[in-house]
Symmetry: D4
Subunit: 158 residues, 8 copies
Amino acid sequence: MSDKKVLIVMGSDSDMSVMQKAGEILDEFGIGYDIKIASAHRAPNFLHKLIKESEESGVKVFIAGAGMAAHLAGVIASLTIKPVIGVPLGGSKLKGNDALLSTVQMPSGIPVATVAIDGSKNAAHLAVQILAIEDEDLKEKLDNFRLDQEQKIIEKNK
Amino acid sequence: MSDKKVLIVMGSDSDMSVMQKAGEILDEFGIGYDIKIASAHRAPNFLHKLIKESEESGVKVFIAGAGMAAHLAGVIASLTIKPVIGVPLGGSKLKGNDALLSTVQMPSGIPVATVAIDGSKNAAHLAVQILAIEDEDLKEKLDNFRLDQEQKIIEKNK
Amino acid sequence: MSDKKVLIVMGSDSDMSVMQKAGEILDEFGIGYDIKIASAHRAPNFLHKLIKESEESGVKVFIAGAGMAAHLAGVIASLTIKPVIGVPLGGSKLKGNDALLSTVQMPSGIPVATVAIDGSKNAAHLAVQILAIEDEDLKEKLDNFRLDQEQKIIEKNK
Amino acid sequence: MSDKKVLIVMGSDSDMSVMQKAGEILDEFGIGYDIKIASAHRAPNFLHKLIKESEESGVKVFIAGAGMAAHLAGVIASLTIKPVIGVPLGGSKLKGNDALLSTVQMPSGIPVATVAIDGSKNAAHLAVQILAIEDEDLKEKLDNFRLDQEQKIIEKNK
Amino acid sequence: MSDKKVLIVMGSDSDMSVMQKAGEILDEFGIGYDIKIASAHRAPNFLHKLIKESEESGVKVFIAGAGMAAHLAGVIASLTIKPVIGVPLGGSKLKGNDALLSTVQMPSGIPVATVAIDGSKNAAHLAVQILAIEDEDLKEKLDNFRLDQEQKIIEKNK
Amino acid sequence: MSDKKVLIVMGSDSDMSVMQKAGEILDEFGIGYDIKIASAHRAPNFLHKLIKESEESGVKVFIAGAGMAAHLAGVIASLTIKPVIGVPLGGSKLKGNDALLSTVQMPSGIPVATVAIDGSKNAAHLAVQILAIEDEDLKEKLDNFRLDQEQKIIEKNK
Amino acid sequence: MSDKKVLIVMGSDSDMSVMQKAGEILDEFGIGYDIKIASAHRAPNFLHKLIKESEESGVKVFIAGAGMAAHLAGVIASLTIKPVIGVPLGGSKLKGNDALLSTVQMPSGIPVATVAIDGSKNAAHLAVQILAIEDEDLKEKLDNFRLDQEQKIIEKNK
Amino acid sequence: MSDKKVLIVMGSDSDMSVMQKAGEILDEFGIGYDIKIASAHRAPNFLHKLIKESEESGVKVFIAGAGMAAHLAGVIASLTIKPVIGVPLGGSKLKGNDALLSTVQMPSGIPVATVAIDGSKNAAHLAVQILAIEDEDLKEKLDNFRLDQEQKIIEKNK
């Protein structure tokens, strides 16, 4: 089993600047992860293989970022029973409104946990929260992160 | 080779009342077709098999109707090089605005020929037009259909 | 510690008809849960107390359903480090478009795992997937559920 | 009792460039105010304390500016019976459409007086109008402001 | 001086069913008010006269409900320096999205305190909050209203 | 009587760059016009006087350009029985979607002839078409304009 | 020359219930008109002939009502230099939002005077206003209509 | 008969930068095509002639790109029974949302095969897929294109 608990997938390498922020948050919390480029439409077989192999190797949470008719998270969700977090990307003419609806409006039985448009950081935070349920160490890190967040705001007012 | 040139696929049997209108148009033009229920999310393997087998058996055009985060047409388009016509269905709270964007905003290389929300009839008309390119008999039927349409309007004014 | 692993919260008892479907899915998977009515706006202190006590008593995942300027899931997320799943409710004039944006567009650091408008069933499915990460029994139930889903679709085509 | 009658709160210091315009208007009318950074999500306890202490020290009107899933004004409104004016901020991908709906679509009993996207100046004008109800001096300043506004337009036409 | 502190104006008598709920809330709090039908477009002179006379007779807060291109609240705001609360009405094909934008997106200098689509109750609550700033009796009633609201929610959970 | 047949009004001098294009089209067709800055909200009395005097002096068509909650065209329409052409301006965060709905969704009895967002040129073309109904000279100019338009397109293809 | 000064055209006989209200208003003002069913898409040649013949026979204003991708008014505008008034019809899933944008967002040179969704009455009122520019009798009727409108509102308040 | 199987039409030469990408894709697949500027509104007779002559000379698929109230594809579709592919262009204030609805929401009988906003490449891909139905050589090129696409993604992950 690999120590990579999260797989970050994006539809195109042009999405890297947004999606790598998810990796940076996971790094902060000391969670192993991998980043892959895969497309539900242009590389369906590669995507199927990637998800199946990742699930078998120990990935516990998937994060998928895609724009426009963003099918990536939904297609991944159809291939695994692990939680899939969808990040609608806002690079299109419609500013991510298309990607948001394509990601969040999933039919019954195959959920995608959707975060904000370009919300790659929160995708990682959600992954951390999911993994922390059964991990006391992560739970403590999250408690500290929350205290830090509040403390920073308090200090800005001084 | 089957004589079924069009495959109509829908995400759920609750979509039948809208999608069977596509079949009725194909009947009018004497084009063989099949209707199937398949889901990109709930039955991905069945869908892959269905599309591959249909393409091999002679299907030349696919029509896919789905609502909400309507991935069905896009996923079919990723599995075949035949033209895929997408019908965004308007049964959701967002009245098909979600399905429209999820169907039409496809990335480069994998087009979906999208028609109006609940536009199943036009999906069939488009399939007929595609098949008529190399079929003089169909072409004549289309010409007559257009003449009939105009004639009906002229008569309503009398 | 209670055996209730999920807390379902809604903003008003008029939301019960939609939100109880989340409970029915959790029942199918044999997961203990509680259902509460609480409002981020009309009962902020009660909500704070409810979330803190629930977290202490062993709740691992929160599901929050609210309509209009749906702040409920976001406010719960600010009070706990457990995953919070938000269900935007579509009862308003704007058909849930308001609730969707109010639920999903969370700022960095405090994610809400958002599902479809009125997607209470998928909120429950997502909770099951999260709890199944470290629960082999649940994992098996999920695998069976997926197989059943696909089987039902295959049978509808016969 | 403090002489600060208005408290301006914003979700992040990046909102200062827009929100400080509210302060400038209050300065023009000679109304004492304070500006604070606080977050409904990242610093809920600090926010609760800030609102309670401000209300006790004599604040009569709150102005809250926030973007995306803008819960700030609504959460403040749940903590005070003073009027709360909400400024939806337009910095997100959705240009403030998300913040507008998250701010204005409040449930019965807890109103937020919402102004235009990035309408921080009008938030201050509204606060002045509210405070002027029982303040003859402010009332006169408002009358003069309106006359000046009209005069400026008349002069532009010369 | 009249004892009517609030004037409720609506664009058409077909808006009465929604707008009279504002009156009911004002009745609960013992605030005198008047209800009038007036149109910014169809009766501009009558509207000007009504607002000027109302302001002189002691009205302190205006509530205006209108649908479609809802100019009523904005036009009233141009005629008085008293706070004007706008209620966008959702009776049109666009479900109040038109009225919301027409009411809230006011230019600098002439604010309208906008509440939710069809949010006539909250318009009244906001008026009460504004009037309570300098009225200890109303303030106490508001405190009790808030406690009642929270108590009702607590009891629903029993 | 003045020879100015069209009055172009705009809500702010920042709208001049868009609205002066209407004047340029009127110049091309040799139609006398005046341009004024006036605000339905900030200068209501000046606006009333301007419209009444313009109508008396012989203005036959009004063109009004405004952004955001664009009430200008509607308020002018309430003050005259001459045709009023509304130009929704797209300078706001919502890109003119607010101004479009505020301009076009007028109640029965008080129409505004609405053109495209920032469509000041077409406002002038529409004014020319209206004035040409009873003016053979203008009619001929319009016919020539149309022929020129078509000719330019034909030549671009060479 | 015919005494029919207005031609009302609609895309389908199912639009009659909305569009005949335009005729009723024209009747009230004693303006001769004709009503026709014609489609830019299904009967393009018939439409061209209809518009050309109507213009020659003395029609001075065209009113066109259409839903969905409402091209009718724009296509008529391309065939005549008379003013064309477009009525976006709200019968589709998107409630006329599609028809509104398809009607109003015309390119430079070919304006359509657009009224509200389903605003057939106002289309007629606009036609009356256009025809009244050079018709003292109509002008007087319009003045009276406006006075009646205001009077009705004044009486409703008694 | 000409060897030009596709005609690319656009509403204005400012659309060339987007639409020429369709031509580049057709070049890649070795398909003859022509590019023309034509306007449904400004040059209706030229457009009619162009479409009729193109159809007679052997054009099998039309591609039409237009922005705003994009009637071009629909009007072409009314003049031919060949498949018409519509590309909504996103250059307007509304970012192509207007052009998308104006292109896709066609009435029954006259379909337009709509692709994504600014999706000129996919318009060409769809044309290739349509032409490949009866062309083994093209079919092989499409299969290779798909393999290349997948291969490129696989290599990006190395």
